[in-house]
Symmetry: C2
Subunit: 399 residues, 2 copies
């Protein structure tokens, strides 16, 4: 990998040369993400026209503010060439491999007023796998840099088992939990995606240079920052929204009271994603963040990779729409019925006795509640027992 900039290098012909790609490469360079005004502007008049107007400075004031400082920087072809020399490419919304569905959560968030959650104009991607394929289904595993042995072991096990079951493991390539999750996925010969807060050709953190190479060789290193961009504190927070969006759910393994992982978790919750937290000893400062997320109701407890899959299910059922639907459909349930609903799983049928034990609701009341849930379409009864339906969150059965 190199951070050297070679202006003499001439970009190849082909996709790198297409005007839309060049326009988006230019726009990623001239505006520091997130740039909501620019994104909306591109949505109105298209990337090529938007780029032309940004160059000439004839744009609405909000767009001008986001682009005035750098609009004269013309490095699109150079960035595309540098990416290529690092085994990377620019994936744009016009490409088949654009992860439209996962990123839809960002557009929906913006429409709910979270302007900072704007979708990226394009993504620099290092590695050969198609981005959309890796992002569906995917699970984000995040956590503290200063992880304990317990946290690292859990992250590695979750990364391994989820990758082994066909889920791409999305994380941030940081030391600690992130690295352990990526390594676990690689050890299972599975897919893993590192979303970084710098250029995809920048070796950061330095100690993960080899890990990043292995991730790129077996999965993808992704960033909205142009090649050569150094990491910066605010970029990690901006980057976190992409990790939260690309994962159907986010699993927090360990987190201090104030931590980036916690920021990713609250972002995922704001995007309507499932947020899961791994509990730990209350005597461990590295579990405080997880327990806070649980106490605040932002995250639910998870103790095994199987439970992650049970909660998250297939990606499509976990988009903001599905979650929104759940929020509506489970409103106004009796306390007993909603406890029973919580005790039901999406994919593994359970008998009323098991549900009673899980929920602490008396069996007689469980039976009544199950009927109530069936009538409202939140549960269904099969030969092997009762299951939560997609309307109730967790998505339809995988078969």
């Amino acid at each position: 990998m190199t951070t050297a900039h070679d202006p003499l290098r001439v970009p190849e012909a082909g996709p790198a040369g297409d005007p839309v790609r060049l326009a988006r490469a230019y726009l990623l360079r001239v505006a520091e993400p997130p740039a909501p005004a620019l994104a909306a502007f591109v949505g109105q008049c298209g990337a090529v026209e938007a780029a032309r107007l940004v160059r000439t400075g004839t744009v609405p004031e909000p767009v001008r503010e986001e682009t005035v400082a750098r609009h004269e920087i013309e490095m699109a072809e150079v960035d595309l060439a540098r990416a290529e020399s690092a085994g990377a490419r620019l994936v744009i919304p016009e490409d088949d491999e654009w992860p439209s569905w996962p990123l839809l959560a960002l557009d929906n968030a913006v429409s709910r007023g979270l302007r900072w959650a704007v979708a990226p104009l394009a993504l620099w991607v290092r590695g050969t796998a198609p981005l959309a394929k890796l992002a569906d289904p995917a699970v984000a595993i995040v956590g503290a840099r200063a992880a304990t042995v317990y946290g690292s072991d859990v992250a590695g096990e979750f990364g391994h088992d989820l990758a082994e079951r066909g889920y791409a493991v999305v994380s941030g390539a940081a030391y600690g939990i992130d690295g352990a999750a990526h390594r676990g996925a690689l050890a299972a010969y599975g897919s893993t995606v590192a979303v970084v807060a710098c250029g995809v050709n920048v070796a950061y953190p330095a100690g993960h240079t080899d890990l990043l190479d292995r991730i790129a060789a077996n999965g993808l290193v992704v960033s909205e920052y142009p090649p050569g961009t150094p990491p910066a504190r605010h970029r990690f927070l901006v980057r976190n929204r992409l990790i939260a969006a690309l994962g159907a759910g986010t699993v927090v393994v360990e987190a201090g009271r104030r931590s980036g992982a916690r920021n990713t978790a609250t972002t995922a919750a704001a995007l309507g994603r499932q947020v899961l937290a791994v509990p730990g000893p209350i005597t461990s400062s590295m579990s405080i963040g997880c327990h806070d997320l649980l106490r605040a109701g932002v995250a639910s407890v998870v103790t095994s990779p199987e439970e992650v899959i049970e909660v998250i299910g297939p990606l499509r059922a976990d988009g903001p729409a599905a979650v929104g639907a759940e929020a509506r459909s489970t409103d106004g349930l009796s306390e007993a019925a909603s406890r029973v609903h919580d005790a039901l799983a999406t994919r593994h049928p359970r008998h009323p006795e098991r549900v009673a034990a899980e929920s602490g609701v008396p069996l007689r009341k469980v039976r009544a509640s199950l009927v109530e849930l069936e009538l409202t379409g939140l549960a269904e009864c099969g030969d092997d027992g009762w299951r939560r339906t997609s309307a109730g969150g967790g998505g339809p059965m995988r078969t």
Copy 2:
């Protein structure tokens, strides 16, 4: 302590001799708890008349079934004498020290169809403190016998800190978590109550003979089983309903997948009590029960004694009524509002920024939700920030 029965001993005069006390002592001896039919019968015609009719066998069939096997056993005076010789007494509902309020949860449960949750006809109490005084406010701390060092340390710390703050610590005097909780309370020179599944004069478990003596000297050993009654498996489960009822909330520190502590927790939930579970490593089999309770929505996470107090608040606010009120009052809140409500504390005011961080709800939306909660009486704003009101659970502010 002695289990020897000395029929020659003549009971003292005074309260031990009063007919109602004698009647209830007789009834506790002739029916194995729980005896819902007998309890209802006593409610209808009074203890003295009920005892007379039970003796003669002229009672409704359900009552007969509960009493026929032992109705000829006349040991009331002997039991009262043996209790007295063990430093114990029989506390009856007619006494000022009867814990009417805590036990009300049992009557309410029965009226909801949980017949097994019937309130005791009377309670054998060893120790000098007034029972009602110790039961208000009280917190139940329960857990595994085969506790880990982590669990024992946490139980001891919780027992100590809660007792130090004036809460009586209720538990079952078993090895492991129970013992650690009692010892923690004693170390703080606080009150602690052991509810046992045998006679209050029976040294069980043998290894806790001294502990039981210390509990009786500084608090109370309580049982609905007559003096000399040996422990039995089913009696532990029957006993658990009393632990769950006497505590304004139940804290589960460690529990295996199938455990008595778990039974106490689900019973407490069925009684409308607050149930709190201490998380632990997902790699520890002794934390499985806690995590299951959390995942099933039966318990909420607790990581410190302060959080216990924050959730439980004063006893009166945590009766089933209050909890029922919460179940009603928070129904139909928007997802954001209910997240914000979860992130508010009863006693410690929080600023919107803190609530946003806790809840993962954007600040703008937090402000709107707080107003919504204020209008519905679920939150109130003071000089130091926002607090959850009693209507929203957790009870009114302690001042």
